[in-house]
Symmetry: C2
Subunit: 317 residues, 2 copies
């Protein structure tokens, strides 16, 4: 692999001139600049990032801290990761995955944190000195990236109402975190606005639990009913329940999910859902973080994505 010196020798200039052409090209005369570019190309020069990291006291490593259990890891994450990785690669950073079990965080230039619970702030997050970006809304003032959860749930609830169903149950995940509270709010407010009674049922994020719960409800129910779910996984469970009882989707039972990553398409019928642009959001996490690092840890604010309603056969024919 060619080094700065190789390029310098070939162009018959000093190493510094080459370095300048790379970092402050405007400080170099056009003539030499062209000469250096030519040599770089010929030698196929790529800067050695270890050396750069050393001078700048950087690691060029970003850690992704996944605080959710591996068990609950949904397809979801792969997309987040893909987004993050694409952006990091472009800016010559690399990635390390850290889970709750890794006891020590180790060296890095910054962190992206996801799957965080309330208690993690004190135990983990507040001890970190590196810049960080959270994936998922929070009320503690940390910079974050998320979709507008409340708006999403409003959209999907209104969609059901517009299709002539007034009995709407909410199936959510039993977890006291902001993203969940926002989704509940979105549902609740929409229902109250129409003078309808919100019915909220929280459970573990498992398709089998959702199925079990929904079967109980459907056995007693005799009118048209809808389940708006806070995840596609719960949505799939409800679909199974309806099918087991021989009910028609969407005529007897309407079902919606949330996420729009993979599972919505696996369901049969496919799920109406709120799609989160996860890959995009991953890229944004990385972008924000790298900018934050470049700006010496300055606050970057939040990035809140507009949710997208994907209408499928679980609510319409």
């Amino acid at each position: 692999m060619a080094t700065l010196s190789d390029v310098a020798r070939k162009a018959v200039v000093s190493k510094m001139t080459v370095s300048r052409v790379i970092n402050h090209p405007e400080q170099v005369s056009a003539e030499l600049r062209q000469l250096v570019y030519k040599s770089m190309k010929e030698l196929n020069y790529v800067p050695n990032s270890a050396a750069q990291a050393l001078v700048h006291n950087r690691t060029q490593v970003i850690k992704l801290l996944i605080l959710e259990e591996m068990d609950t890891t949904e397809p979801y994450y792969m997309n987040l990761l893909a987004g993050i990785a694409i952006e990091l690669d472009q800016r010559h950073y690399s990635l390390q995955l850290v889970t709750r079990s890794s006891h020590t965080i180790g060296r890095c230039d910054g962190l992206i944190v996801t799957g965080m619970r309330e208690t993690d702030y004190d135990h983990i997050i507040s001890h970190l000195e590196q810049p960080l970006i959270l994936f998922g809304e929070n009320k503690k003032g940390y910079d974050y990236v998320d979709v507008d959860n409340k708006k999403g749930m409003q959209m999907v609830t209104e969609h059901i109402l517009n299709h002539g169903c007034q009995k709407i149950l909410f199936y959510g995940i039993e977890i006291d975190e902001p993203f969940m509270r926002s989704r509940i709010e979105g549902y609740e407010e929409t229902m109250k606005m129409k003078q309808l009674l919100p019915q909220i049922n929280l459970m573990k994020n498992s398709s089998h639990i959702a199925q079990f719960e929904a079967e109980k409800v459907l056995q007693k129910n005799h009118e048209r009913i809808a389940f708006v779910c806070a995840s596609d996984r719960l949505g799939i469970g409800v679909v199974h329940a309806a099918q087991r009882l021989g009910l028609n989707i969407p005529d007897d039972v309407m079902v919606t999910g949330f996420d729009g990553v993979f599972l919505d398409r696996i369901a049969q019928p496919k799920l109406t859902t709120i799609r989160q642009p996860i890959v995009e959001m991953g890229k944004t996490c990385a972008k924000l973080l790298l900018d934050k690092i470049d700006q010496d840890g300055m606050k970057q604010g939040n990035r809140i994505y507009k949710p997208e309603l994907i209408i499928r056969n679980s609510t319409t024919t």
Copy 2:
């Protein structure tokens, strides 16, 4: 962050002694060694890997080259990645994700390659000079990690035969790669051994396509029938087909999947499947690769995992 010099100063020894305690502890007297350990602990010393990388002409970066389309990315990958990441972190390497679209591979110490097609050998793989490990069997002599695909399909086919069903169809993925050929072989040989007619149907790895195909078959069929599928995704499609036609699983129709990552548990009923220990396999990929790097690219051979038959309600009650 503390450096070698800091530790040396604190322990009142030279930098070299500290370096030796880390890399060749046996060359240092017990007395000094303890002193140095103590100082390291007190200063919370962690070696600067950029500096190490620089001296050793390493990058400390491993790339994971994912040649499959993002679209077909299954939950599967997250587990592979998790395994790889755990091992890399322990050995102070970091990771970069590269997809087909990244035009240049860039600097790294080694690669793990997955989702490769026949044509990629010439176009991509053969141009790489870094050590590499493939995830997935191949006949070109590259070191790889995989599950015994043939054995897995034999196990699951025999399982069906033992449960009194002789009409067994194979649903596979329409892709001419070794892993698929092995799974087909496993099915074919088991059937032939019992003098039964193998029936092989290849299609895109999509639950909806599998459902479509299975419905066609089931409409004409009037005996007990089983579908052994080459992925859980196909298996889910067959389950949907049976349900749409009001058939009972497993009494009328038996279904099996392959992979045992996430989707098998989402299905209702849960799928009998061949579980691949993906996290473990990911760790092994990383381990093999790092060893290969340490041994200057020496051939490491293959690691073939025993498949595990997970019996669930899609074949038994």
